[in-house]
């Protein structure tokens, strides 16, 4: 009997719990959703937000990874600002990004204009144009190191075959950085696809109306296509500028190590060298900070300059 009562109690208890559970079900579901979201949020906090805060902190410390970081105020910035190499790297990085980002964009735009129509073979042409963009960056750097080889590389052989003067490419201080910019211009596949999609999104009515008005191709491009593409172009340009901080590392590391002289010394490589060859992590962090301030200013300038240009919602 007592056993039965006990059993009864437990049954009632279970029902009570279930009822409670059922009432709370909505919020428990919310809790489950929160759990599913946790890896993303936690990962972001540990792998992106914390690193950014840590960079800011380390920039004001002396830290060699052997001993704990020590606060030393603005000393890092004073030291790095006194180095010629740092300013050379800032200048080179600005030159690199001011040519490679717009050139990539221009190339992507031209390809998109050529390849957005549905024509025979267009899919294959797009795939071909995208190929350089999928090659892993180490492999890409090695390929171009070979192409640029001043005596045995195919580029100079090709120039010699056509009858043009051969160049020293990466060995000459005047052509080394332009060579790196040149090779970056072929990695424009994503921009091309974004712009093709954007072009395909323009209603055909616009073109027909313009054609009826007797507009030439150039006029249609200048007055209809470009204004409509401007938001996309701006977005891609800002993205290319930001990405140049990471995409310029592997070529410099694999191909030139900053040379000849300091002709291809770019900030990402200089920061890597300072941090991981000399283990002055504090210096490196302050350079990193400066790099992103410079990038921020550049992004802001581009945004102000191009943001207003030609972009009208009314069309």
């Amino acid at each position: 009997m007592q056993q039965n009562e006990g059993l009864l109690d437990s049954v009632i208890l279970r029902k009570k719990i279930l009822a409670f559970w059922h009432n709370r079900h909505v919020s428990s579901y919310q809790l489950e959703l929160g759990l599913l979201l946790t890896p993303f949020l936690l990962g972001t906090a540990v792998l992106l937000l914390l690193p950014m805060l840590l960079t800011i902190f380390l920039a004001f410390t002396s830290y060699n990874a052997f001993t704990p970081p020590q606060w030393n105020g603005l000393q890092n910035f004073i030291t790095i600002f006194q180095r010629d190499v740092f300013w050379i790297a800032v200048r080179n990085s600005l030159v690199y990004v001011s040519f490679s980002a717009p050139l990539q964009l221009l190339g992507a735009l031209l390809l998109a204009l050529l390849l957005y129509h549905q024509r025979y073979g267009v899919r294959e042409y797009r795939i071909a144009a995208f190929l350089p963009s999928v090659i892993p960056e180490v492999a890409y750097a090695l390929i171009w190191l070979w192409i640029f080889n001043p005596l045995y590389g195919p580029l100079n052989k090709l120039l010699g075959w056509v009858g043009l003067p051969e160049q020293a490419w990466l060995v000459n201080t005047a052509t080394a950085l332009p060579s790196l910019i040149f090779m970056s211009c072929f990695r424009l596949g994503e921009g091309m696809f974004v712009l093709i999609a954007a072009l395909q999104g323009i209603p055909p009515a616009y073109f027909q109306a313009a054609a009826l008005d007797g507009g030439s191709r150039w006029q249609i491009l200048r007055h209809i296509i470009l204004p409509l593409l401007t938001p996309w172009l701006l977005l891609l340009l800002l993205r290319d500028i930001l990405l140049s901080t990471q995409s310029s590392f592997a070529p410099v590391y694999m191909m030139t190590e900053g040379g000849p002289g300091y002709a291809t010394m770019l900030l990402p490589y200089l920061i890597y060298d300072e941090a991981f060859s000399h283990f002055r992590l504090g210096h490196a962090a302050s350079m990193l900070l400066v790099m992103f301030v410079v990038m921020g200013i550049l992004l802001w300038l581009v945004y102000r300059l191009l943001g207003g240009w030609g972009y009208t919602d009314e069309i």
């Binding site: 060699n64 060995v171 283990f279």
Partner: protein, 433 residues
Amino acid sequence: MSRQQVLFFSLLVAFLAACTTIQAPTSPVAEEGAVFTELTFLISGDPTDQTAYQTLIDAFSTEHTDISINLINIPSGGDFRKRLAADFAAGTPPDVFLINYRHLGHFFAANAVEPLTDYLAASTLIRTDDYYAEALTAFQWQGKQMCMPQNISSPVVYYNKDLFNAAGIAYPSDDWHWDEFVTTAQALTQDQDGDGTADIYGLGMEATIVRAAPFIWMNGGEILDDEAAPAGLALDSPESKAALAWFVGLQTEHHVVPNAVAEEAESSLSRFVNGRMAMFVDSRRAVPEFRLIESFDWDVAALPVSQQRASVLHSDAFCMAAAGQQQDATWAFIEFASGVEGQTILAQTGRTVPSRKALAESESFLDPNAKPANSRVFLDAVPGMRHLPLMATWSDIEGIVSKHIENAFYGIETVDEAIEAANQQSAEFFPVP
């Protein structure tokens, strides 16, 4: 199984794989029962080196069955130093590592290396008197012997006998002068197809301070203003500058060395090995690779001299990490490697000039049947031998100076500009007086 199930299970497997890799870092599995010491030994070398050190380890293990040594080889010297610094930074240094003295100051200053003075004093197997003092001093820091040098090498002139014969030029003598060196190199530099660039170069020379140093010293110049308490470079003294100008002139003036384009296209080392370069300056380490050459005969000669004889020490030493947990076992290995048997094994590769005096004078090194026939030049260089400065910031200074010597060598800067830039950029790495 449905597709979703397949997907789900593969995800599960991936997740488990991810978790197990997190939980199981590569902890060595100790053999049951036996007290087993596992050491890591970090080196930087080519496959020949790796084989030689593995032989050394195997010989050691037959005597010390309770110690196993895990050899880690990082082929690139730059990557090796990064790896080593990173290991120390992470608190997991190798127990023992083999490293050139030029890159050690930083580790000494950070107290990362265990001094060996006491171990040496207690050792019954090795005595410091048996080693060349020129090699030992390069690894002394604040009066303590920090590491045990394994070799006492120095730069010499490797030359292609066949190219000398073909050009009808006498082989280099043991006391040849700078001028003779240049005229020889000029006579050997040939543009066979008349396209304006040389097909055979007379000389191959790295454009670094390490290579330039003996010539600066031969000319009565110095690298630092004060070896004991350095406050700056001394490359702008007339003697140093003249030596640097001569060194740089080998390329810019005499064009007997490949220019930047030619060097980028094919390294001097490769040109020499392929029989398209008559002379090549390198330390003893080139010997194992050159012994594989079948297409021509070669030998070594001393560096040419000017006012006085001088040479620069190239030496690697076995160092023990201060943070190591198994220092007795580590010492046993260093002791073995520095002993007669250990150094004999390494000398057989041809790569090292033994730092043990008796061994260097023996047939293990001066083997008449092995190339180079004139190995004695390595020993003849010892009396005039100096080492590059030992300071915490030396690797920074060396990097800057070498960079500008290279710039001058390949005509990007004049010698004066290079010295000026080197002075300016290295200033921050000298202690403030």
